[in-house]
Subunit: 206 residues, 2 copies
Amino acid sequence: MRELKRKRGRPPTIDADAAMRAVVELFRSKGYAAVSLDELSEVTGLSRPSLYRSFGNKLSMYLRAIDVFGEQVVESAVPKLQDDGDLEVALTNFFSEMLNIYYRDDDIAPGCLVFGTAPSNADEAEIQSRLSFSIEQVDQLMRARMQKAFPARGSAQLDSAVHIASNTLIAFSARAKSGATKSELLEIGAQSAHAICTLLQGERAD
Amino acid sequence: MRELKRKRGRPPTIDADAAMRAVVELFRSKGYAAVSLDELSEVTGLSRPSLYRSFGNKLSMYLRAIDVFGEQVVESAVPKLQDDGDLEVALTNFFSEMLNIYYRDDDIAPGCLVFGTAPSNADEAEIQSRLSFSIEQVDQLMRARMQKAFPARGSAQLDSAVHIASNTLIAFSARAKSGATKSELLEIGAQSAHAICTLLQGERAD
DNA sequence: GATATTTTGTACTGTTTCGTACAGAATTAA
DNA sequence: TTAATTCTGTACGAAACAGTACAAAATATC
């Protein structure tokens, strides 16, 4: 609440948010297991003890990084999906915005922190939990948006369309890391959005 | 060619194929970076020097594991896709067979060695190369099979369907690792196959 | 039986990594 | 000025790890 009241001892000089942004970048370009605390120390500019004090051990740093990454997605990409208007446009814009996150450049792609790095380390229960939560979240957001656009569709048709959309996003991560350019994936996103709308428009509801 | 001719010194006792199968299992459940040579030594039953002599260092073991895994896919799942007859059936059976590989049980899923673990370590050039090759391979197989079933379809319609299928498969890996059951993914595979055929049948060729 | 040849694991070195104890720095309160 | 408090990094110990030298084991050849 009040932050004018100076605390007692030596004032903190660490920018935890900036450090966490660097942590996210390192984890999503190198994965979880391949990253050492020394590297994290280097990219954040914080000493190893400072990292422990601010964020705990490597696992808790990674989990927190996933949360931060998720917030970024919720802030910048999810609104595009939830935009009223044409579903195909909303889906295309959502995919496009996600690719802006996955790519730093048209060529160089740190990819998705969750879908790109979590599967390798899902033997860790808390990591698997975040992965499963993320997938469910995407499925659920897709389902809500499609249901809004096509209220008459049956649950089966909806599920099918939902999974096509989610799977497209999940696969983007692997494709980006494989060296595909952003433009190529933009095209795949647009194809996917178009196909989904074709399906939802064309099929008879049971 | 001739193998009756006994070689000169101490006869080898190592079963390289069995060892490599164990290597594949370890890598795809724990990822690349998290695996140590001591663990590889333990699961294969070979000493660390024997591992070096047989397969080289960790990277070359991993690359070879990817090749072995790929052969397994080509032998058991790809034929299902290439089966003549209904495309929807072929796709469904292909997905099903891939899930048999991804899952050891209905619940426990080591997942896909390539799509599950390679993206985390794609900064290594040779790993990225295998990942990109695998994706291209899947895209190409899908395209060939769909073109055979729907020769009249235009390239754009085909591309769209191809990517839906490939993305389904790629996403299976993440979904399996996230804790989804095999039955759930079988359902998603069937949905995807049905949607693809609906699209290819329904759309007019330009 | 002795020697050459090939395979194999024990044991060693140097490096990397994690985690923390502890001392020094920077500030407020007395 | 001194003491209390909070923040920070240097420096240490312990464990894990990669890679290899070397000796022992097991066979063929002489």
